[in-house]
Symmetry: C2
Subunit: 681 residues, 2 copies
């Protein structure tokens, strides 16, 4: 990988430091697993959802399952085709948010951002819950405890991300490729056995599915159509994660757009192959699944299977059947599926800081999220994300089927708005483009995006109609709350910006004098240092001030002051209530009242400590004083630090670099700045 | 009350402001209720404890109850006599802590302080639990829910104290005098009825008390003696609160010491009268109480009263009997007893800041507790106090009898150490005193304190022996923890003081130059203000610095800078990881490395906001930067505040005065300082 090339391209006159190894651009073979894990992992639960939803109408409805699978595959092709246009048109990594903001305006962008944020939470909740299911099929003792397992897994992921794991390409590639080979290999072997005539049945094949009331005659009439649409909507959960690549274009090698588009295609091929393969095999092996297995699944004799029946996921049943002579194969499949689901959840933890950074830059979230290295801001975000996911897991008891109802609506809102934005994009370009070849290409892209818009719009409507009462309203409500919150934050920033904008030149008037005040309580090194520094700054007026909290101490201080001959006058302020803040603030105000054009510079010694509990013992009064002083216009507060020995521990700790998560997805150091040497003007 | 006098006495050349009305010295008639509520309230549970403890040996043991009551009264007389010496010898309000520290050293003082702190928590727990009992006797539906009632009452007290109620003398006087009149009146009426021959029996008089195994033959042998001693130890809970007056001597009018001593005597007379009266009447009215009433109290036919029997406190039973023709009297007695117990708990919330202030002054607790007006420090203390009390209430389910086991040991540790200190005190004075009248008086006082020491020491031993396994070990463990914590804090402060003590004169060397750096991110008013202030301070080198996080923004800034012709050079720092902290810290360090004798003054604009959530949106990066910069020696950080409009709300809020609790007990403004006008030297 050409670091030299990289260096010259991104920076003018300054080479990358060698410490930046590892944050380099990705080749397609590494980019595919990094960005595809989320999308591929949904094959672990999307086929299940189709069968589960159809089961309401009994066994006969299963016949539609592969047709629905084909429909979902077609939608995926359309969506991928649309995104291939997006990633080549917008290569900065802004993704759907950027497309919406640039083309449709602030509100559309915020809608997408809210949808994506809600989606992150649900990605964690759904993926972890599904992983818990797979864990329970492999380790029988976990059955019935999926909720606890899921919560613990989420906390584990949160902790790892708080510590700052390096999201390296290799760590993603191996498990993802293992997953791909395992599932494709299993499907291939399944078809081989089919050809050989010895494809066994699934373990649930002997069960009968009792239809729900209302579907006693199978899929008839409006109810039947509605059910098929519902199943299709659930199966569309397979499309979640496709947009991740559009956020990660900067991480690709050049030509970035083309490589990203190719990767999208690879993703689609693999995902569709896996999805359709699993779907078809599930039909051939007569997998039976239901939404409430305890009552809907019946034994051959008609008795319900009861509450102790633990419904294995489809892939689990396929593996158990296809590898019935090769038990290790079953555990391998269960393991890699569990791992890919955890990786998919991890993408949410990594994707959030990227999105948060962009939103912070635009002022929709606290601005400190924009500048990296603020470990604390990311930590808060990670904790919030994990917290909300855990709330969902607990509320829905790690039930993937119920969580999915919330999951899909956000994704398709994002898709639909994004396609609309792309249409606007092409329309705008076509108005000015003259070159016929380019025009033809743009019109082709516009057609693709139009088909994409119609498709995703249709699916969105289907999802809203079929899922709203099943839980989608929760997701929509959350999106609305986030939307208003972010709008409110932006309004605040706008108002402040208007308040502080420069309109006239009067802000450049210089104050006339500087009146320096040094706070001393005792005569010790920090005080002497503060006095020395204050003298060095050569103010117009310099005096030391102490507050008479304890008359004996004050008398001692005055004596020592005289004794040492300190060349700065000492003023004693009375304090009838034995507090230090009010007398000093009053004094500062009195100086300002006497000479309104002077500034008052208050020098406050501050202890720099190394351990957290030491902060409780020092500096508290100084902090409160600073806070109070800052309310008075024209008063500056200067902290004169005195580094205690214990601070050296902390200093060393602060210097070790902390890499914010998501570094890989942002394509390395990003646009590095050029340092201009020399003085301007 | 002569404010003018007060003014001239306490201050030289400065009169008290009129806003200090209300914090004046107390006459004895107001001081008695303020300081006696804690001690008097214990008559609400101490007689109960005597009976309950004796009940282990069955009915026959009750004969000892009045004798034990007399013994407790005698101990109280001795203790009060001893404290009369203390309050006249130490009039500063330091109380037992001061006596121990001055005369016996740091460890003894810390022992007393730990005992007092533990005692504060237990005062709240015991008093509130007892108040809950009285509430339940008056309001039947509260029976069985005392724990919840107690917790809610504690939270209520905590909230009131957090808001800062004015502990006014009148608020204390009325309920306390009501209580005294109610109990003394009830006792008097009881004796009148006795004389008239129609004193009824208590409601529990018909019950039989089954002795515990081991006491089948009543109070015999060692076990019997032990039981009597246990009952005596429990009854000594009546002495809690006597030391409060020694902490409040400054609040008395002159002659402070003599008035305090007289008030102590008044307290003793009232308390003993009430206690002995209640005890005697309880005997006369045949009150039956047991530690486990469900199994130990039997009906006439021998069946246990069972778990639904709610054992009313002694005073409750007395009132019910004596006022059987006058039901309002019962409710009045129950109500005033409940109120006085709540007031007693409140004294702990008010006493803690006083003790905390003294310990903070001496460096055993964080120093900011010493200077008043630090609302936050008090709030933390109040919350901690309430929290620990609630933990105890929950752990012991508001059971007064079990909580008492922890209560007494701290009090008597404090008494014993204090008496020892007083002995030392007199011994020291007698060594130098020549005047025979004074010597005689001192020797008399020393004899009193010696008797006090023997008495309290004996009681302490009895308490330790009889109560250790019943729960006193918990209190002792807590005292040990506090002791070590405070010693550790003091050791830390000593170490830091040694580190920062001035030993040579080299700290007075002035740095050679001041290199000012102004941080700008955009050109707006706060930035212009920071530049203007930095220029006004006339440093040797002045430059503005921005970090290149976003190349477009940086370019815009540079253009605008040139366009406005700002007379300060602008330097752009590269930031490959899009963070602002590290480049600035590196730059500051590079300046220091280049010229180690210069100081770097970093001017950082800071937004001053009014609402708490606005702080989340601004200043975060600035705060983190400040923290990091302070680790580098020779770097000062100056905050240039820009007051946003919303800050005016907060400014007004900060200006309203907040009175720390315990003001009344500290005798008003304390030793006010004298403001020295003019310049020294």
């Amino acid at each position: 990988m050409g670091l030299g090339d990289l260096g010259k391209r991104l920076l003018v006159g300054r080479k990358l430091r060698s410490t930046q190894l590892g944050e380099t651009l990705l080749p397609k073979r590494v980019a595919l697993p990094v960005f595809a894990s989320d999308a591929l992992s949904s094959v672990g639960y999307a086929p299940d959802e189709i069968f589960i939803t159809l089961s309401a109408a009994g066994l006969a409805a299963y016949a539609f399952s592969w047709k629905i699978g084909i429909a979902v595959a077609l939608v995926m092709l359309v969506v991928v085709a649309s995104y291939r246009q997006t990633v080549q048109a917008y290569q900065s990594g802004g993704g759907d948010y950027e497309v919406a903001s640039v083309n449709l305006g602030q509100s559309a962008g915020l809608t997408v951002a809210s949808a994506l944020l809600v989606d992150y939470v649900l990605t964690v909740a759904v993926s972890i819950s599904s992983a818990a299911q797979y864990a329970a099929t492999a380790i029988g003792s976990l059955q019935g405890h999926q909720t606890i397992v899921a919560v613990i897994a989420t906390l584990f992921l949160m902790t790892m991300n708080l510590r700052g794991i390096r999201e390296s390409g290799t760590a993603f590639a191996i498990p993802t490729y293992l997953f791909m080979f395992a599932i494709l290999g299993m499907a291939a072997w399944g078809f081989v056995r089919l050809a050989l005539g010895n494809l066994p049945e699934a373990e649930s094949a002997s069960l009968h599915v009792a239809p729900e009331p209302g579907y006693a005659h199978g899929l008839m009439g409006l109810a039947g159509v509605f059910l098929i649409l519902r199943a299709f909507a659930s199966g569309s959960a397979a499309l979640t994660g496709v947009e991740a690549i559009s956020n990660g274009v900067p991480a690709f090698r050049k030509p970035k757009g083309r490589n990203a588009a190719t990767t999208l295609l690879m993703l689609a091929v693999v995902a569709i192959t896996m999805g359709v393969g699993v779907n078809v095999l599930a039909n051939l092996m007569h997998v039976r699944m239901a939404e409430r297995p305890a009552t809907q699944l019946l034994h051959a004799d008609g008795t319900p299977v009861g509450p102790h029946y633990h419904q294995p996921p489809v892939i689990s049943q396929l593996a158990a059947g296809i590898f019935d002579h090769f038990p290790i194969g079953f555990y391998v499949v269960a393991a890699v599926t569990g791992v890919i689901l955890v990786l998919a959840a991890n993408t949410a933890f990594n994707g959030f800081p990227v999105l948060g950074s962009i939103l912070g830059r635009d002022g929709f979230l606290p601005r400190q999220l924009h500048t990296r290295g603020d470990r604390l801001a990311y930590s808060n975000g990670i904790i919030l994300l994990a917290g909300f996911a855990i709330v969902l897991i607990l509320a829905f008891r790690a039930d993937v089927t119920r969580l999915i109802q919330l999951y899909i609506v956000g994704v398709f809102v994002s898709f639909t708005v994004s396609q609309t934005g792309m249409l606007r994009h092409w329309g705008r370009l076509l108005r000015t483009e003259q070159d016929p070849t380019a025009r033809a290409r743009m019109q082709r892209s516009r057609m693709v995006n139009a088909v994409g818009l119609v498709t995703t719009g249709l699916v969105l409507i289907i999802v809203l109609i079929t899922k709203f009462s099943h839980g989608a309203w929760i997701a929509l409500a959350a999106m609305a709350v986030l939307f208003m919150l972010m709008k409110g934050i932006r309004k605040h920033y706008d108002r402040v910006a208007a308040e502080i904008a420069i309109d006239t030149d009067e802000d450049m008037t210089l104050p006339s004098k500087v009146h320096a005040v040094v706070l001393v309580s005792k005569l010790h090194r920090p005080s002497l240092r503060a006095i020395a520094f204050a003298r060095a700054s050569r103010p117009d007026v310099l005096e030391a001030v102490t507050v008479d909290v304890d008359p004996e101490e004050t008398a001692r201080l005055v004596d020592e002051w005289d004794h040492r001959g300190i060349p700065v006058p000492l003023k004693v302020l009375a304090s009838p209530y034995r507090e230090i803040t009010r007398p000093i603030v009053e004094y500062a105000r009195s100086i300002r009242r006497a000479s309104p054009r002077d500034i008052v510079m208050v020098y406050i010694p501050e202890y720099v400590v190394g351990r957290w509990w030491e902060q409780l013992l020092h500096n508290q009064s100084a902090l409160r004083l600073k806070g109070r002083l800052l309310f008075t216009p024209g008063v500056l507060v200067t902290s004169v630090p005195y580094q205690l020995r214990s601070s050296r521990i902390a200093a060393r700790r602060e210097d070790s670099p902390w890499r914010a998560p998501g570094q890989v997805r942002r394509g390395g150091p990003g646009r590095a700045a050029r340092e201009r040497t020399g003085i301007r003007r």
